[in-house]
Symmetry: C2
Subunit: 403 residues, 2 copies
Amino acid sequence: MSRTGHAELASTDNIGSLSRAGDLFQLLRDGKARTRAELALTTGLARSTVASRIDALIASGLVGPAGEATSSGGRPPSRFAFKPAARVVLAVDVGATHVIIAVTDLGGKILSERRLAQDVAEGPEAVLGRIITDATSLLAVTGRTSKDLAGVGIGLPGPVEHATGMPVKPPIMPGWDGFDVVRHVQGSFPVPVLVDNDVNIMALGERTAHWPEHDNFLFIKVATGIGAGIISSGQLQRGANGTAGDLGHVRVPRGDDVLCRCGNYGCLEALASGPAVARALAAQGVQAESGADVLSLVAGGNLQAIQALRQAGRDVGDVLATVVNLLNPSVIVVGGSLGQAGEHLMAGVREVVYRRSLPLATTHLRIGLSMAGGQAAVLGASQMVTQHVLSPAVIEASLQAAG
Amino acid sequence: MSRTGHAELASTDNIGSLSRAGDLFQLLRDGKARTRAELALTTGLARSTVASRIDALIASGLVGPAGEATSSGGRPPSRFAFKPAARVVLAVDVGATHVIIAVTDLGGKILSERRLAQDVAEGPEAVLGRIITDATSLLAVTGRTSKDLAGVGIGLPGPVEHATGMPVKPPIMPGWDGFDVVRHVQGSFPVPVLVDNDVNIMALGERTAHWPEHDNFLFIKVATGIGAGIISSGQLQRGANGTAGDLGHVRVPRGDDVLCRCGNYGCLEALASGPAVARALAAQGVQAESGADVLSLVAGGNLQAIQALRQAGRDVGDVLATVVNLLNPSVIVVGGSLGQAGEHLMAGVREVVYRRSLPLATTHLRIGLSMAGGQAAVLGASQMVTQHVLSPAVIEASLQAAG
């Protein structure tokens, strides 16, 4: 078993024997029950091959008897279907000051969930140790054990080299740079462990749960930091080094004299993040120190705060207008704490995107708030794992190892 | 046969019978000769299935006998390989004032090529009529006929709805808006006809010919217009409406008071295109009316022209810095007439991209001039066609129709 298996993630056009039993399983993933004969006919595989592959899939628990034919006495059951409850996934969303752990089935259904107050700055050993302890107890509460685990998916609030699962110079995660998250977690859960940054998995979760028919999709998180998860041609795009979607340090025209913590002037994050809006308000004499303060002021009807939030929306919109011209998505979802604050930020976003983007690219463009909300990340973490562990190559490799 | 077949282009993860003979053929595309027994073993297909699929592929001409076993007398040849010369592709690059027609084999090798002076503004019937006539004669010169054609690929200098092959409000192509290019060409060549905008196929051609190992790749054309072709995760990205890569109307900070022909201020094209640089020079009293004039001045060592071209490079770099943060490509190729003018534009591009992009995203980033040059578009047009006509689904459909 590969540690993270990302090479295989891209292997849907894999050819040769590796994909054969995988294909048979992919066919069954739609949940429909089929007989061996139907499977042989549809796949073109030899009958003997189908029989042995089905036996292996049944032994793995991923496929089981289905339909009325199961009651026909001593003969082996003749119809088979995917069993999403066969295994479970541990889906973990690590935020700056919280952790959400969810147990899902292989269909992405959340079976149980737990939220912990936990500061990511305490370092990887403390945070991952807490996650492992709480996940073990959550599995027990759900009536499952670590033996049922198909994999673990983790979202972290910083850049992650997806191929290795290691954080790369994450600004708000002291002690995590280059830490081997995968190996550490596999010490307790010896299953595939996949790690990505939080915005990528939020994009995956939001799209899977609410916009599955949209292949060109963008999720932007506006909170203490600003970042985006990009889905193009139905696939999450990470770029050559895993930094795709990092919009926080794109220059915004309005900000030429605003210094960012990165050392450049005019970065989006220096203008439109929660702390940046709070600073702008403080400079006007309004008492605000954090994004949370801004949201309280807005909720209380403070006009300066509402205007500042709308202006932050315009700045975000400025960058999104470029993104729309470049990527031509059909849906943009705005999430994160500021994004979830209602229509003030969104109004600014829409105003600029529709003014500055190409008409052809915005005719059918929808811009909306996150519907998955606080669950986007764990839904995405689960999806990241099932995309991998149920992929043709991985299914086949695990069957060969078992057989 | 579908007219353009774009649904199938995305079907590499297709499951079931459609992909079986396709997979067998994909296996052979590497050029290696294999026996029926080897193919059965590798694919898991029944021997009888392999035998009938090989017969069908031989009948289609795509696969033929290979290796020493062919001389073994009356028995059917026992080893088989892909024959790239079996069929040819017509690859057409339509520019504003020229057309390049190439005949390639199924491996993308250019067999013959012809360049015509032709104004795209004469309208689709005149231009396509000329292409059909000249392509027929070029085929004859190459010793082939239209019966050998596997498909036709056409790049047009304007937005194209890829799914239908129709131009959409192309600014420099009067008479082409909504014209049914595919049907018109199929009147003479009844084969799959695929149409895309020129920058997308230049990206495809440049990457296939010179950067095949780079899955995150950007080609930017800087000429009379400015646009980009995006390859992410190894796949050309067109976006939801086919407008992805349209960078010409992204706002550049420096340009707030420069009106663009699109009605907005500060668009990249209003600052850094050939005509824009010429206008800026003319305003300084230097005689220049077009991009070609700018290039002549630069070639003659005119310092103002060199400075203006370098500034255009900085403006392009401003937009590319955002693109780098957003998409994290490992290679950016600058093409188009201004891009091909040497290092002056490139110096400006590099200066800003390396200053404004995230360090992590630029550590391994290469920015270079086009190596395919004037052949990028025809190489890409050929590649667009072979990706389609040799895809598993299309191969299988054609074999089923024949059988």
